[in-house]
């Protein structure tokens, strides 16, 4: 909101000269943030002149006038041709009009210097000004024509109040009263400790015109409230015989412009002026266009209204309307109707001031996307006492500026509203602030904001009187136990009963009153009490795990990135997902930023692949990226709608469950993508390209960080290469190995415990089902093409949530027992079918070798003609060690033979001869 200082000063006489920085600091400290400050209108050499003669110069492309202007009473009697000549391109004036002349030597806003010069074949000694040339608004339709009584020869800058300072203030939505000069001036007066004079106090002149403010006038246009929920006060007053062509005085249109409001006509300008000053939106109807009594009511189905902006609007049954017997004539507090609008012939005016429902106007404005100055104020709460006052000032101003007669009295329809009184322990603001203000200060500050305060000694009232006491005493269904106040009645205390002023509907709770006291006393005065450390438990296991998994990946040469969580429609197809793939259904945003990206991601891969392509495109061909973040999967059968629960009590467990049931699944995933070389070439030798194996190893590394050993088997799943894709999973129980299927097809191997104590499975898990974790491998060539990636790019994605749960279930790592007896090492080369997974061979060796086996390690894979078609040789080192003795060569050999025999039995392995 833009506020000129001159206007504030009328009601808050702060000392001269005012330091704008100090004003800004004090207003901001009071909660009205001053965003900017602008000195305006510092122009010398503007005089009020009268046009005495006009010579039309017709020889140019546009109409040009050569005017003779008088700047003193003496000039009026002189021969016009002897007067100052000025060239002017506007035509909206006539001889005898008073205008604003800028004299040579002056400088207009924007550094525009005025000089006497020859133009259009004449000497122009100055310029007749349009509003925008003076830096007042944007209007350049014509020059300023002043009222005939504007003092000839006077300094226009002083006459119109041009010289001013304009503050731009950001008003928070809770403080509707501050969207007005009245509200800001009140805060300014308090901030400077000067007396505030309220512009809403009725002036004796107005009362003389109208009788008392509330006096009804039988001749005023009739009105009634049809829906008490829509409007609780509706006031009409009338002016008849008004001159529609009367000009708006300069001081008024200058102020309107300073506030960013365009001057329209006197009648409209007066309503706007009073809205800015008081905060009460007003509307003017042309009485001759009204038919039958006015009723404020909700819309009926199918009703329409053409509003001032020439849009025909279909009304909603919740819309609040002002109607006459012809139907809707205005959308209450939002925008007036075209048919009853005042025009340049309207002489009989009906001025409406009302107090409409804040929620009702907010909903209507949003529903029709019709946010006006009026709705902005009604949404934030308007002073319910203002309609009577503002309408009185309006008709008084209209009559005095535009002629016409005020019809005595008013039409006043209202629904009685009880004033709110808040009871609060006098010490409550002290308890919130941690400062001993004392009762006198609290009362003084509350009275400063306009509240009335009474006190008594009584038991301390609750600070949450709105609480659902019934629900609280029952307590049975509450989701959490309500911690009861310790028993034992506290003694009586000083209690304040505070009735906030009518302009502060935002003050409803003791906490609101505490804030008023504390902000006026100054946040700068609050003490600092350094924290006393509570005993925290630190990060959870899952939080620590995510950090170490992330660090593991980064240290292995992968760069963490964050990608956009919004997903384009085409991703599912680009990834080649099947119609029934669980990554296809996505959470859809109802109002997406871009229609191309209406979804939230169901997988991390597309974002990572795009980032990969971007890096390659920027000249980084050897790149590995990872990301950890949530993915969003609609829950099959979820409720369509999450209910809105009560807020005057704690929710019950079933209520919370109903919210949880409506939300999508949001597991945390970790994904990684690879392109180019994983190890770089250099003077040391050739590089190593990133392969499917690196993608799988990255996943294994994440699992190792969780002390879990990931199991791997071949799988076919988009977006991976069908022959180079691994499914990643965890086995349920070490002592319950899955049965190996025959050599061909996906085997389910079991790996041994790692030498460092990693557990193959979460031993504490009750389920016997495998835990699926994710996939890794080389990407499908079609996907590589779709995302514009280098050939053979690879990727992995796993559910960190599943991994963390498994780690949690697995419990603590069992410390290893270290044997210091010597190791016995045996190498075996086994020939198996080419399709037998190495993991199956290894699992067989582990089972066959028995407890003496410490480690098994594959060190070579060989295929060749001498092995025969479809055969391969896998060479393993088996390390044996006993906990209690040195193994004999015979013992080690026996264990090796048993391992080989088991491999022979399970997967048909034979020792390579």
């Amino acid at each position: 909101m833009r506020v000129p200082l001159s206007w504030l000063r009328e009601y808050a006489p702060i000392p001269e000269p005012a330091d704008h920085a100090d004003i800004a600091r004090r207003l901001t400290a009071a909660g009205l943030e001053v965003e900017s400050h602008e000195p305006v209108g510092d122009i010398d050499g503007l005089v009020i002149a009268q046009v005495q003669a006009i010579e039309e110069l017709a020889e140019f492309k546009k109409p040009i006038r050569y005017c003779r202007v008088a700047t003193s009473e003496a000039d009026l009697a002189a021969d016009p041709q002897s007067l100052r000549g000025v060239i002017c391109g506007a035509t909206n004036f006539a001889v005898g009009d008073r205008v604003v002349l800028v004299l040579p030597g002056s400088v207009l806003p924007g550094g525009f210097e005025i000089a006497a010069r020859k133009t259009y074949g004449r000497v122009s000694e100055g310029m007749i000004c349009a509003p925008d040339e003076l830096g007042v608004g944007e209007d350049h339709a014509g020059i300023i024509v002043l009222a005939p009584d504007a003092p000839l020869g006077a300094d226009f800058t002083a006459y119109a109040g041009l010289r001013d300072e304009v503050f731009e203030i950001a008003v928070t939505p809770d403080r509707g009263y501050a969207v007005s000069i009245r509200g800001v001036a009140r805060e300014l007066a308090t901030a400077y400790g000067v007396a505030f004079s309220d512009p809403a106090d009725p002036e004796p002149a107005d009362l003389a015109l109208l009788g008392s403010l509330t006096e009804e006038g039988p001749d005023v246009y009739p009105a009634s409230i049809g829906d008490p929920g829509a409007c609780d006060r509706f006031v009409l007053r009338e002016v008849r015989g008004f001159s529609p062509s009367a000009p708006t005085p300069a001081w008024m249109w200058v102020r309107l412009a300073r506030c960013g409001v365009r001057s329209v006509s006197l009648a409209v300008d007066v309503t706007n002026y009073l809205m800015l000053e008081l905060g009460q939106p007003l509307h003017a109807f042309d009485r001759r266009k009204l038919t039958g009594p006015i009723v404020v009511r909700r819309a009926a189905a199918g009703e329409t209204l053409e509003t001032l902006d020439h849009v025909v609007r279909t009304l909603h049954p919740d819309d609040i309307l002002i109607t006459d017997s012809s139907g809707p004539i205005s959308m209450a507090g939002t925008m007036g109707g075209l048919a009853t609008e005042i025009d340049d012939a309207s002489a009989d005016l009906v001025i409406e001031g009302a107090h409409f429902s804040d929620v009702g106007t907010a909903k209507m404005a949003r529903r029709h996307r019709l946010h006006s100055e009026a709705s902005y104020r009604f949404e934030r709460g308007v002073d319910r006492e203002l309609p009577l006052i503002a309408t009185a000032r309006a008709v008084s101003l209209l009559a005095s500026l535009g002629g016409g007669a005020v019809v005595p009295g008013c039409t006043h329809a209202q629904v009685p509203v009880e004033p709110v009184t808040i009871s609060m322990a006098a010490g409550y603001p002290d308890a919130v602030a941690g400062v001993a203000y004392g009762r006198d200060t609290v009362i003084r500050r509350l009275e400063e904001i306009g509240a009335s305060v009474t006190q008594e000694v009584a038991a301390a009232p609750t600070i949450a009187p709105w609480r659902d006491q019934a629900g609280r005493t029952e307590g049975a269904g509450a989701a959490r136990a309500v911690p009861a106040k310790p028993e034992g009645q506290p003694g009586p205390v000083a209690v304040l009963h505070v009735t906030p002023p009518s302009w502060r509907p935002d003050l409803t709770d003791p906490a609101d009153l505490a804030e008023e006291v504390i902000r006026l006393e100054g946040y700068e005065e609050l003490p600092v009490r350094m924290p006393r450390a509570p005993a925290g438990r630190g990060l959870t296991a899952a939080q620590k795990l995510l950090r170490s998994a992330s660090r593991t990946l980064a240290e292995s040469g992968i760069v963490e990135v964050h990608t956009d969580p919004f997903a384009p429609v085409r991703d599912a197809d680009s990834l080649g997902l099947a119609a029934d793939d669980e990554r296809r259904p996505a959470v859809r945003i109802a109002n997406p930023l871009s229609e191309d990206e209406p979804f939230l991601r169901t997988t991390l891969l597309p974002g990572l692949l795009r980032a990969l392509a971007r890096n390659v495109g920027r000249g980084f061909p050897d790149v590995a990226l990872y990301e950890s973040g949530l993915v969003f999967r609609p829950r099959p059968g979820a409720l369509g709608r999450a209910p809105i629960l009560a807020t005057d009590r704690g929710p019950t467990a079933p209520e919370l469950a109903s919210l949880a049931a409506a939300l999508p699944d949001q597991p945390q995933h970790i994904g990684a993508v690879f392109a180019g070389d994983r190890e770089l070439p250099g003077w040391w030798g050739p590089g190593q390209a990133a392969t499917w194996a690196d993608a799988i190893e990255a996943a294994r590394a994440v699992a190792r960080a969780a002390h879990l050993q990931l199991q791997v088997r071949a799988a076919a799943r988009m977006p991976w290469h069908p022959g180079r894709c691994a499914e990643l999973y965890l086995c349920p129980r070490a002592d319950d190995p899955p049965v190996d299927p025959p050599a061909k097809g996906g085997a389910a191997p079991l790996s041994p415990p790692g030498p460092d104590g990693t557990k193959p499975v979460p031993s504490g898990m009750r389920t016997t089902a495998e835990v699926h974790v994710g996939h890794a491998g080389e990407l499908h060539p079609r996907v590589i093409a779709a995302y514009g990636l280098p050939a053979r790019a690879c990727a992995m994605e796993l559910s960190f949530t599943a991994l963390a749960e498994a780690a949690q279930a697995a419990g603590k790592v069992a410390g290893p027992t270290l044997s210091s007896y010597p190791v016995a090492t045996q190498d075996v080369a086994l020939v198996v079918g080419a399709a037998v997974p190495a993991a199956s061979v290894e699992a067989a060796l582990v089972t066959g070798a028995g407890d003496l086996l410490e480690e098994v390690r594959l060190f070579d894979v060989y295929t060749g003609a001498q092995l025969g078609e479809d055969r391969k040789s896998l060479a393993y080192t088996l390390r044996f060690r006993a906990p209690d003795r040195t193994l004999t060569a015979a013992e080690a050999s026996a264990a090796r033979d048993a391992a080989v025999a088991e491999a022979g039995r399970r997967v048909g392995a034979v020792l390579r001869g």
């Binding site: 009071a30 941690g434 600070i463 946040y523 964050h562 959470v587 999450a642 005057d648």
Partner: protein, 392 residues
């Protein structure tokens, strides 16, 4: 030399002959080798040979010749027994001293030659240690993740715990329970991304992409025991076009403390402690009134600019890019937990009070590291993450 050698041989023959007999005979011919002149000559010969040895091999030969079992001095020493008893001590002393001189000379020469050899060999083996050897491509953490962890850790060190919640959230958690009444203009302070109904029907789903991390406050208040000190970092969403300082999806971190007797003084203390840890002690903080529905009173927090420390405000001072010469930097929003929030979570506001604060993670990062464009954080360019490495 030959004479000496001959006499040695004679001595041996004689020694064998008279093995068991004491050497009582004095044979002036046979003990010529022990004459001072002979000894001196042998010494000079030895020292000359040692000095002349140009390599370890030559030194080895010189050692064998002049200090070995067949060296003249060794043989001369064996003749001592042939001397009359009264002469033996003096001769033995003389030979021993000379032998010591020879040994020491060999040792010195040995050390010198070895050093020479080592230097030669190691110099030949020298490499160019300035050769780069980064065989592995460089990985890195994302600075926004690191920033969130850093900010969390500051509060974890103060005894707070880290709480998390879903990013797609029920409106009740995101708005209603936080005292954003339906249709209140406060809801429009945050441009919300609404989630469409899963069943495809029109109308509100009651679900939004969370606009702040504050719903985690509600989840914490509903599930954790009191007193409660939590901090919640996470991603939040706004229906807002990206520019140099705004993203539609960005990170916030919020703190919440609910206990008996907490006041605004405690809130100021928590914020001051946070600024002290993050930017170093000595920067003042300032609260000014603001409005958030879930806190009452509410404030925004500014801290003294950590770069110019307010110096740029003075007339004629160098301008400060970080605070735009304002002297203060807006850091966070905060306030005392609105009793309405406590009631909505089933907590007795007559017994418990609390404070909350929140700030943008990217903003804190950008301030601390002079980053100009927030879009760099979601671009995925490896250069951005790599610039920060593994820790901020």
């Amino acid at each position: 030399m030959r004479t000496l050698a001959g006499s040695v041989r004679a001595h041996w023959k004689q020694a064998i002959r008279t093995m068991s007999a004491p050497n009582k005979n004095y044979d002036p011919v046979e003990v010529t080798a022990l004459s001072p002149e002979e000894i001196e000559r042998a010494l000079e010969a030895a020292l000359g040979a040692i000095a002349a040895a140009g390599s370890l091999d030559e030194l080895k030969a010189a050692r064998l010749a002049h200090s070995g079992d067949r060296a003249p001095l060794t043989l001369a020493r064996a003749e001592i027994g042939a001397l009359p008893p009264q002469a033996r001590a003096e001769a033995g002393k003389r030979v021993g001293a000379v032998q010591g001189q020879v040994k020491a000379a060999i040792g010195r020469r040995q050390a010198a030659l070895e050093k020479e050899r080592d230097e030669r060999v190691l110099i030949a083996e020298a490499v160019d240690v300035t050769l780069p050897a980064a065989r592995q491509v460089q990985g890195a953490r994302h600075p926004v993740s690191l920033s969130a962890e850093l900010l969390s850790d500051v509060f974890v060190a103060m005894g707070y715990e880290v709480a998390e919640g879903p990013e797609v959230e029920a409106e009740w958690y995101n708005f209603d329970a936080l005292n954003f009444p339906p249709d209140h203009p406060a809801r429009e302070m945050q441009d919300t991304l609404f989630i469409a109904r899963q069943d495809g029907l029109p109308g509100s789903s009651g679900i939004v992409a969370r606009t702040h991390t504050s719903p985690v406050q509600i989840r914490s208040l509903l599930t954790r025991p009191l007193p409660l000190y939590v901090v919640s970092p996470g991603r939040v969403y706004r229906n807002e076009a990206s520019d140099a300082t705004h993203l539609a999806a960005f990170y916030q971190i919020e703190g919440l403390a609910v206990d008996e007797g907490l006041t605004m003084a405690d809130l100021r203390g928590a914020i001051q402690a946070f600024v002290d840890v993050l930017f170093g002690a000595g920067l003042r903080t300032r609260l000014r009134p603001d409005y958030f529905p879930f806190t009452e009173p509410s404030a925004d927090v500014s801290m003294e600019c950590h770069v110019c420390r307010g110096a740029s405000v003075k007339p004629g001072a160098d301008p400060c890019r970080t605070c735009r010469s304002m002297g203060w930097i807006e850091l966070a929003g905060c306030g005392m937990v609105n009793p309405r929030v406590l009631v909505a979570c089933g907590i007795d506001p007559d017994r418990y009070s609390g404070f909350a604060f929140g700030l943008g993670v990217e903003r804190a990062l950008m301030l601390a590291h002079g980053i100009g464009d927030i879009k760099d954080t979601t671009d995925g360019d490896v250069r951005f993450s790599r610039a920060f490495g593994m820790e901020l």
